[in-house]
């Protein structure tokens, strides 16, 4: 892969050094359609990050949920011989082949959020921890209501056909099993406010008594909270996901059902772009002894509660 | 000369048209037409298919804007910028194509565009009452103002259209072939209404291809040929039929039904209809047709003639009885089976049931046979066109260019395309539903001759026509029908129009 030999002599292995302007890195970025808050935040964070560096020339392809189109965008990047590609695939497996071709063409690919099916398809991978998110949510709920073996736990998932939703739900289930609970009502929304509202109002009607509710995504959470408000329900605690500023303000205010949210970093693509720049400029990651950019970065999925919300709010995304 | 012209006419003509011209994308439909209509007269406009009659009246009703020429109303030049402008002046039109809306009630159709309303809210009760009055005036108390127009027969729809024209309080009513879909009884009723209207000083512009009608109802006649006036304001009295035909066609047309050729007694029976029935429409229809015979179905509109043809043809599934062709029983409800057995149908509504208007003539002519020209599913358009040319010559199609879209043909020639279709197929039994509806005299005579020639070639023909004269003149034998029941079957020569009408009226009385 690219830059192997030159990396034997690391350049600026310090934070300041990494900030220093280097040769211009042409980076291609392609992600799914920004059709909901978190993905919108992913895009804007990526663009904002690129803005910070005068030596990044970012090419952004139309966000899409069509694997065929995204492949052709990556092909375009390959044709243009960009220096690196940051790719948040609409479907990891579906984009693996074209990513491999990019790698074979000598263009390092940074895989973000949804993982490729082959290790040879990416030079580096930045992931949020979806399973971990579910575990965090489940563990938190166990802490809150686990002493009641009959506690009713409900779940509002995101788009059910995404593998990441499956991972989150699996983690949630596994963690709940740890305290002898299980999900009694589960509905899926679509990561949109309207979907969240619709799913939640039906769910609340179907389950007249709930003890805890995990909602996978804070953007759809706006709708979920609206439904809860409208139904006048407050007998349960609610845990969010993704970690939007809205959700954190809700937690901060402390007068709703919203008790916590699990962060799923919206800065993944921005991190990917930074990594791409480092790769192109043969820089390494500061604070690591290792002189090369690591292969795999899995971001943490911390729980935000009223205790630590001040700490997270400034970096949260406005959905 | 000009002065004497003016003085010879009554004071003010209601409508005057001078030198009107109109072109459609290269086609000159009107090139200098003159027309003068007096209050209280029935002014007939004659002309062959495609002469420009409908275009003229559409210019008069504001649908088309003329390219040049002048329209005067009460002596004042006017510009008819749209249908509303014409209606506001007092010109109401019954168009050739049925212009009613199936999904609306009778009353709603009558007042469409000038609804009885207060601040946009309909006054349903008033509208129904007025509709009932109008329909009564037309002699149709049987049509309920609240009935959905889609459920009415074609004649009923025509009455609604007529009531609409009356409702406009028009001073001039233009009728574009109103009688085309009416039978004798209905036509008599129509004429009664027309006389009542002219008695009130309302002028009528009347278009029809039936010259007999024009003799009965018309006061003066104007003739259009190829978009130009060939005669204006001829008095009906003293203008011979031959003169009119010459003015229309530019030649002499002998209007006579072609002589019957006696069917040899040994001619095989080709079509046998036995006890055929269709629930809710007709029952117990039986007749046989021999090779070389022309068989006519006579009856009032709505008596079920079309449905009998369609049922024989398999387009509707019979609920009783059998149809046999050359001794083989047909599978009920299957058009391909009927065609396979040698049947062919020229449907009642040429445009909506017969033709692909946007497609060229040859594809219309070969619509039932293109597979025959094809080899392993591969079309052979060259052969299709050749065959079409041959048949076009046989039916005297004009123009005969096989590549012309069917839309650009006149009604008579469109009918000939349908005949050509079945000639190509080698049909043994030809079912013709209103083969001359809306067809001009010249073409009519040609079609009659074609039908006779076909019979002479051994084809069995079944003809349905609302013109009794036509059924009786053309057919060898006739079946008289009323409300789905057979009243009589007999030789055409033994019957005349009065006899048939008597039969039908008696049938109704029972």
């Amino acid at each position: 892969t690219s830059g192997d030999e030159s990396n034997s002599e690391p350049t600026n292995n310090s934070a300041e050094g990494n900030q220093a302007e280097g040769e211009t890195a042409v980076i291609g970025f392609s992600g799914p359609a920004a059709d909901h808050g978190w993905l919108g935040a992913i895009n804007s964070a990526a663009l904002a990050e690129a803005e910070k560096y005068p030596d990044i020339d970012l090419r952004v392809a139309e966000g899409t949920n069509d694997a065929n189109l995204q492949i052709s965008q990556v092909e375009q990047f390959i044709n243009d011989q960009v220096d690196a590609i940051v790719l948040l695939p609409t479907d990891g497996a579906a984009l693996t082949d074209v990513a491999t071709r990019a790698m074979e063409a000598g263009i390092p690919v940074i895989n973000v959020d949804r993982e490729f099916s082959s290790p040879f398809a990416a030079r580096a991978t930045v992931l949020g921890d979806n399973y971990g998110m579910g575990v965090s949510a489940g563990t938190y709920i166990c802490e809150q209501v686990g002493d009641n073996p009959d506690a009713v736990v409900a779940e509002i998932a995101g788009i059910d056909s995404l593998p990441l939703t499956q991972d989150r739900s699996q983690g949630f289930e596994d963690a709940l099993a740890g305290c002898g609970l299980e999900v009694s009502n589960r509905v899926a929304a679509d990561f949109t406010v309207q979907g969240g509202e619709a799913a939640a109002s039906q769910l609340l009607s179907a389950a007249p008594e709930i003890d805890a509710l995990w909602n996978h995504d804070d953007d759809q959470g706006i709708g979920v909270l609206a439904a809860i408000d409208a139904a006048g329900r407050d007998e349960f605690i609610m845990v969010g996901g993704a970690g939007s500023a809205n959700a954190m303000r809700e937690i901060q205010s402390g007068d709703g059902v919203m008790q916590a949210t699990i962060i799923y970093p919206h800065t993944q693509a921005a991190d990917g772009i930074r990594l791409a720049r480092l790769l192109v400029q043969d820089k390494a990651m500061s604070d690591l002894v290792e002189i090369e950019v690591p292969n795999r970065v899995v971001l943490n999925a911390p729980v935000v509660t009223s205790e630590n919300v001040e700490q997270y709010l400034p970096t949260a995304f406005e959905s | 000369m000009a002065a004497s012209h003016v003085s010879s006419e009554p004071a003010v003509a209601l409508l005057e048209v001078h030198n009107l011209s109109k072109s459609f994308a290269g086609v000159r439909a009107l090139k200098g037409v003159n027309l003068q209509v007096l209050p209280g007269e029935v002014h007939c406009v004659l002309g062959q298919n495609g002469a420009g009659k409908s275009t003229l009246i559409k210019a008069l009703s504001g649908v088309h804007q003329p390219d040049s020429g002048e329209i005067r109303w009460n002596g004042e030049p006017v510009t008819l910028s749209g249908p509303t402008a014409a209606l506001d002046l007092g010109i109401a039109t019954m168009y050739q194509e049925l212009d009613v809306v199936d999904g609306l009630s009778v009353a709603e159709n009558i007042f469409l565009g000038h609804e009885d309303s207060r601040a946009g809210v309909l006054r349903v009760r008033d509208a129904r009452r007025r509709a009932r009055e109008l329909l009564a005036r037309l002699g149709h108390t049987d049509i309920a103002p609240s009935a959905e127009v889609g459920s009415l027969s074609a004649a009923g729809k025509q009455m609604v259209s007529m009531a609409r024209a009356l409702s406009r309080n028009a001073r001039l009513i233009i009728m574009d072939e109103p009688s085309a879909i009416l039978d004798v009884g209905e036509v008599a009723n129509l004429f009664r209404v027309i006389r009542e209207l002219t008695g009130q000083g309302i002028a009528i512009v009347y278009i029809s291809h039936r010259l007999e009608e024009i003799r009965q109802i018309g006061d003066r006649i104007s003739v259009i040929k190829d978009g130009s006036s060939t005669a204006s304001s001829l008095p009906v009295e003293g203008t011979s039929r031959a003169d009119l035909v010459r003015l229309m066609t530019g030649r002499d047309v002998a209007h006579a039904f072609p002589p019957r050729i006696p069917v040899p007694g040994a001619a095989p029976v080709v079509l046998e209809v036995q006890d055929l029935g269709l629930a809710g429409s007709f029952t117990g229809v039986s007749f046989t047709v021999r090779a070389g015979e022309v068989f006519g179905l006579a009856g009032l509109v709505g008596s079920g003639r079309s449905e009998i043809l369609e049922t024989i043809y398999g387009a509707r599934r019979a609920t009783a009885g059998t149809v046999r062709v050359n001794g083989t029983t047909l599978q009920p409800g299957s058009v391909p089976a009927a065609i396979g057995a040698g049947l062919g149908l020229s449907p009642e509504e040429r445009k909506s049931q017969g033709l692909l208007l946007e497609e060229p003539i040859y594809r219309n002519a070969t619509l039932s046979t293109f597979a025959r020209f094809a080899r392993r599913g591969l079309l052979n358009e060259r052969r299709e066109k050749e065959a079409t040319r041959t048949q076009a010559a046989a039916v005297q199609l004009h123009p005969a260019d096989p590549d012309r879209p069917a839309r650009t043909l006149s009604g008579g020639n469109q009918q000939k395309v349908l005949l050509a279709r079945w000639l190509l197929h080698g049909t043994k039994v030809l079912l013709l539903d209103e083969p001359t509806r809306g067809v001009d005299v010249g073409a009519k005579t040609e079609i009659y001759a074609l039908i006779r020639n076909l019979a002479a070639d051994g084809v069995a023909v079944v003809v349905v026509s609302s013109e009794l004269e036509e059924v009786l003149g053309l057919a060898d034998r006739v079946l008289v029908l009323d409300a789905g029941r057979v009243l009589a079957t007999g030789n055409a020569t033994d019957l005349d129009e009065h006899a048939v009408l008597d039969l039908v009226l008696k049938g109704n009385a029972q």
Binding site: V193, Q194, I222, E318 | G103, G120
Partner: protein, 325 residues
Amino acid sequence: MRTWLGGSAGRNLGLALAVVLLCVVGAATSGDRFLNLENMLTILRYASITGVICIGMTFVITAGGIDLSVGSVMGLTTVVASLTAVQRTAGETSWLLMVAVALAVGMFAGLINGVIIAYGNVVAFMATLAMLVAARGAAELISGRRTQIVIEPDFLSVMRSNFLGVPLLIWIFALVAAAGWFLLNRTTFGRRTVAIGGNLEAARLAGIKVKRHIVWLYVLSGTTVGIAGVMMMGRTTAGTSTHGLLFELDAIAAVVVGGTLLIGGRGTIVGTVLGVLLFSILINVFTQNNLDTSVQQVAKGAIIVAAVLLQQRFAVRGTRRKGAL
């Protein structure tokens, strides 16, 4: 009245039956959890937003058109309206401004649709498909892809209020449906709409200004979309470009299942309301039974076909009976 009872009601019977059947299934599988006032209100509240859009859509389809842009235009109305609300100078009546803006945006989009269709002679499917794409893009551009939270307390308290124990959203739906019924069946506008859908040429010849009428129809549809946008903001407390995703398909399905002819010329508001309820009850029953969304989708597909078939059967029977009269 007789026409309505004779024609539409006969046609609507099959659908009403389907709705009742579904309710029986709901009651049988979920018992009291299904058959209680709160759950009924949940069903109706859910139905109300699509329902309002469906009323406008009924007019457009009755006239032989179609409006694929309803969903994305609704998203656009919420984006623009919620942004206005944020940028206004504080004041008593500011939430009325928000409502006005939402309606105005909907009407304007409808106006563009109508003009392109009527005066540009672009087939409605394509014109509104273009608007679908464009309005979604515009909503994203204007919102910067942010969800804007509506924090007008007056607005929210009004939108959440009840009247006679029934939430305002449901009242709005009921009012819009009643107004739609009246407009379609009792006014010149409605009858002309049917005429245009049934026989455009005849309508033109009768002196109806067809083009202008078509423009008004799409403006009407846009207006209902604006109303739905206001309701959506009230219900979700947010304005975002993702509001209304795929609403167009739901709305068309409900209207056509309701018995309005896709080719135009015949429309029924009662049928549309029943169609909307059918789908809304369906989702409720599925959720009550904790069923997988995928199963739901398969069932939904089957029910669309079944409903259209049933609807057709009864329509035919209705016509026959009339023919025999």
